[in-house]
Amino acid sequence: MTDKPILDDTSRAPVSQRGYVIEKSGMDDAIGGKVTINIDGKDIKIPLGTTILEAARSLGIRIPTLCYHEDLCVAGVCRICVVEVEGQRTLQAACGYPVTAPITVKTHTRRVRQARRHILDLMLSKHYGECYACFRNNNCELQTLAKEYGVDFFRFGHPEKPLYAVDRSSPSVIRDMNKCILCRRCVRTCIDLQEVGVLEGHGRGADVEIQTFMNKPLGEVICINCGQCINRCPTGALRANDPTDEVWAAIDNPDKHVVIQTAPSPRAAIGENFGLEPGTALTFELNTALRRCGFDRVFDTNFSADLTIIEEGTELLLRLYKALVEKDASIALPQFTSCSPGWVKFLEHFYPEYVPNLSSAKSPQQMFGALIKTYYAELNKIDPKDIVTVALMPCSAKKFECNRPEMCDSGYKDVDYGLTTRELAQMISETGIFLPDMPRSDFDDPFGTATGSGVIFGATGGVMEAALRSVYELVSGERIENIFEHADIIPVRGFQGVKYVELTLDKIGPVPDLLKPLVPNWDWLKGATVKLGVAHGTANAKRVMDDIKAGGKFSECHFIEFMACPGGCLGGGGQPIPTSPSIREARAKAIYAEDSVYEIRKSHENPAVLKVYNEFLREGPCGHKSHKLLHTSYIERGKYIS
């Protein structure tokens, strides 16, 4: 403990209103370092500044919460966590009570129980809807608490009619304010965690409502569709736009050839919907289940992730060549990844002047869609108009992406429907299949099983790691294992918000056949230091972008990976609810474990990808045909709306 209190500089509140951080002392026995408090008769020694809630949890005492969320700052608005602190006149919110003195706390006295029941009754008096007609049935924090506290009638009434119209304007996120309990998790997610700023409470007192800017429909504001609010909503007020009815209709239609591609992140998380611990990958069980659901072919999005690496990596090398050798000043560097549609829309809105920096390569989902309706259709002699492509994604923004008007390069809508992990789990449970019990089966040809590089796209730093593995080997002609053991590029892994790495290319090799038409040699890269950045969560992306604008170290980078969601795709807005740092860590572990067992772990060694370049995209990466099918352009949207 220092004498001077330290101002909390992580808070966005005005300086005058910021709290003080109480430094937690490392020395247990130092005076003032720790304090002993008593909760429900149990003593616990905790560092000063620990909240009652944290202390109770470490004792294994359950205090109910609604507005509290591990990823978000403390709000203390729902009051469900009230406890009795001896000597205090009123009940105190456990989540927002930092302990500074030895206190005695009671967590379930009559007064506390009654207060909590009243709070629930009041919430229910404005909560319209029936649980069995709600997608959060059995996974709803309000419902759980109502059961826990024995709510068997509505003391303060219950709305008979909806109070608000449901906002279905966005292709990704549906807002049903009838179910909102004003916990403001979505507000804190949108403003503090993601720094997008779409939702905020309006009005005062009993009239407060969560609204968008000028109460416009979600489809017309600057929402980036990341869906993080969905993952943190305690009730069913926010959900993804669910196309399962259309997908079932396509499956049931014998004239349609329904193809599904599955991304790596849903496979590492879908087990959670079937009661498994986070971090259990069910990739091959899922293949069987999907076939039994009636999908005609099951493909691995990792195939097109590998393709993305080739296209995006080649684009990067070409940009560097043009900028460094041909001295073309119009080339935009650093190049930004474009796999995350939430991030793409974030950039289009907030940094439209940097749209040229985005890689023109489509995301893996869209590349696959375009190939299925061209290459695959030709190969199997199926009319592309009879093919329905479905994408299983951990993402709500992918629903927006597949509906972008730019994404019809195959002549048809490249990807017809985007399904989230939750929606697919729902479809599977409709068929009576218990996913973990399924026998394992492989992906269908011609795209086959992909490489480990594709798998790690799901975690933050994954695209960078995959790109590094391939670009290094293509340029140096050496194996990446020579510099990184087992090809694990540890420096770009992990959940650190912003990462920066440098890689010096000491050796150069011959130009591989694939890239021969594009560059004469690698001499210009000899001894060059490639500077790379990784950011996940749009708040971190904003940090990096502001640094680039100010001419900081990231403006000298050559390639930066951005992902809109905290943790990368594995923390996406379409993943099973709930989410927390430990859940995301478990999913990341599953993804990296899957990568390490693959025989082929580098995108440019994927035989299916090389086959596509030999048979279909004959002009090679970034050639004419691949530009037509696999690349796209973006819109400078700006953040002003009228």
């Binding site: 300086v15 939702l199 005062r204 609204q211 000028m214 002003y640 709306i641």
Partner: protein, 171 residues
């Protein structure tokens, strides 16, 4: 040079924002100045303000919606707020309310068709010892009588803005 309303609004906000240090603490003073000069804080103004202070437009709107003295759309040129709290109630605010409604031909919460007057209730404005009290824009009127109401409204009608109310407390 042609200057559009939006350009002028933007220049004003940029100048005022800089004067306030450009941080979020400057939000309310900035909103008050925009309100004072333009009579409303438009969608566009909110977005410029958010830009200047590096916050989100939705946060600006949230603050405006919290305060009754900040408006999202233009109301009457003269906003009349009659205190309805206990002291003023006992001192006879009901008679004034009737006088105001009769004189203006509108009820509380409404604006006259010519856009001159908006009539509203206010909670305690701290003039309990001199009730009944009312506010017209930023000017306080105390010990108000129905005659004074009538005269003040006449003075307002004959003027172009706040200036018409200068020295009119004794009407």
């Amino acid at each position: 040079m042609l200057v559009t309303e939006q350009d002028r609004l933007r220049d004003d906000i940029l100048a005022w924002g800089d004067a306030g240090g450009g941080s979020r603490e400057a939000l309310i003073p900035l909103l008050q100045r925009v309100q004072q000069k333009y009579g409303e804080i438009s969608d566009f103004a909110m977005q410029v303000i958010a830009d200047v202070l590096s916050i989100h437009p939705v946060e600006v709107q949230s603050v405006i919606s919290f305060y009754h003295f900040l408006d999202l759309s233009a109301r009457g040129k003269f906003i009349i707020r009659l205190c309805r709290t206990i002291s003023c109630d006992i001192a006879g605010k009901d008679r004034l309310a009737r006088q105001l409604e009769n004189d203006l031909g509108i009820s509380f919460g409404e604006t006259t068709n010519d856009g001159m007057f908006t009539l509203e209730w206010a909670n305690c404005i701290g003039m309990c010892d001199q009730g009944p009290a009312m506010l017209i824009n930023e000017k306080v009127f105390t010990r108000v009588t129905p005659e004074l109401v009538h005269n003040v409204l006449q003075a307002c009608r004959a003027s172009f803005g706040n200036i018409g109310l200068e020295g009119k407390e004794e009407l």
